[in-house]
Every structure is written in C-alpha cells, then in structure tokens.
Symmetry: C2
Amino acid sequence: MDSRKEQILKAIIKEYIFGAEPVSSKTIVNRYGLNVSSATIRSEMAALETLGYIKQPHISSGRVPAASGYRYYVDYLMDSDNILNEFNLLDVNTNNLKDINNYLKEVAIILAGLSNYTVIITEEKQGEDKIHHLKLVGLLEDKALLVLVLSSKKVKDYVLSFMEKISDDDLIKLTDILNYHLIDKNLDSITLELKQEILNIFPDSPLLVDEIFKIILIALNEEKNVDFIVEGMKNIFKLPEFNEVKKIESFINTLGDQERVSKIFDNILGQEKGKIDIKIGDEIGIEELIDFTVIATNCSFCDGIQGKIGIIGPTRMFYEKNITLLESLFKKKEE
Amino acid sequence: MDSRKEQILKAIIKEYIFGAEPVSSKTIVNRYGLNVSSATIRSEMAALETLGYIKQPHISSGRVPAASGYRYYVDYLMDSDNILNEFNLLDVNTNNLKDINNYLKEVAIILAGLSNYTVIITEEKQGEDKIHHLKLVGLLEDKALLVLVLSSKKVKDYVLSFMEKISDDDLIKLTDILNYHLIDKNLDSITLELKQEILNIFPDSPLLVDEIFKIILIALNEEKNVDFIVEGMKNIFKLPEFNEVKKIESFINTLGDQERVSKIFDNILGQEKGKIDIKIGDEIGIEELIDFTVIATNCSFCDGIQGKIGIIGPTRMFYEKNITLLESLFKKKEE
DNA sequence: ATTTAGCACTCTCAGACTTAAAGTGCTAAA
DNA sequence: TTTAGCACTTTAAGTCTGAGAGTGCTAAAT
C-alpha cells in the first residue's frame, strides 16, 4: 500500500460514507484533486480491488468500500475528530438516580440523538449478589416497604400490602429476625428450611414472611438477568441503503433478541474502561448485522455501576464522530 | 340494507380480514354458498358500493371493505367469540409490583403476543399529588433512602448519598422536621421560603436538604407526566398491506410520539371501566393511522391504579378476538 | 321483478425490449 | 508511468405485450 493508494482508499471511503453511492474515478479526481487523470485512478482502483479493500456492486459501476477497506481505514487512515470534545452527556438528570435503568435509558436516548444511529446500553451484573441487610419500614396502616441492601451496594425495595394488622413493634422484631438469618445469604442459600426456621420464631404473620421470601428470591434473581436498553432504532429509516422492508425487519428483530445482541459486547468483556472496540461487518459475529458496524466501550456510571455502551450503525459510519462521542463520555466519567 | 346485502358485506369483510386481498363475486359464491350466481352478487356489490360500505382499489378488481363497512360490521354483524374466555393475563408476575411500569410492560408484551398487534398501555394520572408523609431510612454509612408516600398512596423512593457523616439520630430529627413542614404540600407549595425555614431549624446538612427538595420536586412532577408503554410494534411486519418502508416508518414514528398517541384514548376519557371503545380509520383522529383500528378500554391494575389499554392493528383486524381479549382482561380484574 | 349466462371491457402483473447514462478496462501513444 | 480515447457492460426507466382476473351491462330466462 503506497501512499497514493491510501489516499485513494481514504477518498473512496469518505465519499461513500457521505453519499452511500458507488464512487467513480472521476468523482475522486474532481473532489480530491490528486493531480492525476481518472485513468490513473482507475488502475489504482483495480489494484485496491485486488487487495480486497474495495469492490464493485457490478462490473461497470463505481467502487464501494469492502469490510477490510473500512478496517484499514479505521486502523491506519482515520483523522481524529476534535470537534466534539465538549460533551456534557452525563449531566443528564443526575438527580434522580434511584432507578439506574431510567438513567441509562436517558443516556441512550441522548446518544442515539447525537449519533443518529442505534445505541445499546447494558448494565454489567457482577457475579452473585448477597443480602447485605434489609429493613421493613411502615408506611400506611396496611403497607410497609421492604428495603433490600445488596452486597453490591444496590438498593432495591418493594411495597408490601398486609392482610392482617401488623404493629410497628412487630415490624422491628421481624426486621431483626430476618436480618439475623438472611444477612450474607445468596440465591441458593435461601431455602425452605430457612423460611421454616423464621416462621418458628415469628409465627404471627406467615403470609407476610412468605411474601418477603418470594420477593427476595425475585430480587436476587433479577440481579442475575442482564437486560439491554436499545434506543434509536428508528434512525435506520434515515439510511438509504436500508430502504427495504426485509432489511428493516431483520434489524429490528435482531436488536430485539437479547441473546444475539449480547454478542455485540463480546470483545470488551473484561477489557479496561475507556477502550474503544470497533467491529465491522462480520466481525460482529451476527449474521443479520453483516452490513453494520459496532463501536463499543466499557463505562462506569453513577454509584460505581459498571456498564457497556455500543453504537450500532451502517459500516459506512461516521467513525471519527462516533468514536469521539464514546471517548468523551468516558472522559467525563473519569474526571 | 336487506339481509342478503348484510350477508354479502359480512362475507367480504371476513374474507378480507383473513386474506388481505380484494374479494371477488366468485369467491363469495364459492365459499359462502348463498345460492345465487356471481352476477347477482355483483349487482349487490355495486349497491353496497353506492352505500359506501365497500370500494374497489381499481375499476376491474374485487371489493375491499371501506371504513364505514367495518363500522357497520362492528355495530351490527359481528359474531361474538367465546373461545378466549379463559385468559389469566393478570397472573403475570404479580409478586413484584413495586414498579408499576414493569408490570404494565409485561401485560403489554403478553397482550401484544396474544393479539399479534401493537399494544399501548398508559397509567392514568389523577390530578395533583401531595406528600402524605415521608421517611428517611439509613442504609449504609454514606447512604439513606428517602421514602415518599403520596396522597394517591403511591410510594416512591430515592437513594441519597451523603458527603458529610449523618447520624441515625439526625436522620430521625430531620425526618420529623420534614414531615412537620411538608405533609399535604403539593408541587406549587414547595417553595424556596419553605426550604429556608427548614434550613433554619436544621442547619447541619444544607446540601442534604437541598438534595431532598430537588428530589421531591422531581417526584411530584413525575406524577404529572403520563407516559406510554408501547409493545409489539414489530407485529406490523406480519401484515402484507404494510409491506412498504414508508408505511412502517410512519407507523413507528407516530407511535413514538406521545402527543399523537394520547389521542388514541380520547373517547374513553372519563368512561366507566370495561367499556370497549372501537375507533376505525379516521375515527382515531390521527392522519398517519388512517389504515388502523384501535380497540381501547379503561382498566384498573393492582393497588387501584387506573390505566388505559389499547390494541392497535389494521382496519382488517380480527375484531371479535381482540374485543374478547380486552373484555376478559377487564373481567379478571373485577373478580 | 329477479336472476343469470355471456361477453366486452378494464386493469394489473410480469416479462421482453429499447435507449440513455454512467462507469469501467484496455490499448496505444505521450 | 500516465493519459486520451473508445469499446464494452450494466443499470434504470420507459414502452409494449399478452395472460389473467374481475367487473358491468345486456338480453334472455324464471
């Protein structure tokens, strides 16, 4: 790859990213003045095609970048983009962080708006959670709040409705008993026997204890299930190359399938925060996303929660802009 | 409208609902044996067309129901459908109702699956909420939970992180002060002066008081904003008549726009629970949904929360099935 | 007064053909 | 090594054609 070939490859890619149409030798001469004729460009293009960096949709058309062309571009040719360094993405509504999911959703919506692509965010679940401690807080005559503090420092809570009257004293007593027996217990160690043991000590409200056990199991189980926030899917309608019902259906269905979507983050599993991963076309490993590129990174959110963010767009993505977007997000988090 | 015309209209509609293709006079003779020839059907069809109940996509094609044809069908011709009376829709995960939104989302997903159309659910916000009372519950050294019980009996809570150390005694003291001043206050009456008053009595943690005020304002404000849960949009890909990118884009964009979507429920505002409202085509009042039908009803969920559910599908909807679906949902709620 | 057989008419859909435009590859000369 | 020139290929859009589906109308039958 001599420098002129690189210049031409870069020109083809920039042109194609912008216009989504095959790029002709003449266009390159006109817009990227290399002081050679279109014939020269043509022979260079033939060489680039042999190298696998570009291809022709049909024999007499202009050239389109191949996946390996984008890869070469990303690895060696890309300019960095300084325009976007002043994001303040994480000022989003930082007051109301009780529900991490709402927060992540807002981040996703904003990122999708800025990128004009689709954004996927997922919270990283770390191993098994235990009960750090719990509290029962009386609210109204017939309601109390069960607050669970988990070993991951996450707080979860649930409203309980009583059939039977329960006094504040009883609530305190029950809280003590539950804490005594449940602290440091994980999903597996919350057994029927344990429940029986507690029922023996506190036989007053068997239904309530039952309910509490159910909720705890659900809460701990929830912590094992990763879920994905996907925003900006409708941005696909802005891309002329996906102007077919089949393609849109396949895209929407694929991003609705958590199992497939999780593959998007395979490369950054266990990587350090801030490292930007770029997967182009089949590098993603999802057949239906062969015409897409994913830019992803690990990220930490408020309260030390770990997560992953991915931007998914066409292979002819505005790489610089979106890489900078994720980088700036990361920087903000660190300061 | 004599009985034979009604039979023919019904046949055309049933046939079109099933096949999404113009219905010919011959098809009716073959499948709905009315003991007349196709020529007779044709002259009846011409009459039905004059009445506005059916129309022809082009001059020499079969007939397609017009909006008023569906309306006539729904009002006078429809069979009721008893097949679906054993739904147990509301057994969904009823243990984990802390977050009403998650619950509604699950209901929407299940209904979308059963109907094969798109389901919209919204929680009804009733007027202005006040603070019934609040509690501060210590969790970890540097964290507490602010629990707000609203006059609507809704419980909302938020994790607070302290900069400064706060003792349990201080939390109790602050709780008392806040309750004394904030009980029965609504969004408008939580003023700067009020905050100042509290700061005068409890000057120890100005930042914390600040934070709590912010959160309360957000919480009360949230109660004013209705939001919509939309599930099953991708079912549109199963409908051959929407097999065009433009149509799908318009549908998805329209359902993403809360202002327009809220119109779907206009007819059932203030109606009694369980009343099923059917809006066909332009009756919906949303230009982009001219080819859709909405079936909607008021509904009450767990803990007495009021909501609205709508099923949105093509005008050639399986009316009986989806009406029964919503009705059975309502019945289950009541028992 | 209705119903129906028969036929002319209309429209769609798919395939074949045509032409203009865009772009390439190759060759021979610079 | 570069380039001008030209033959060649392909697409995209337009036109034509014939088959098929379905109607509306008319005149005869019930």
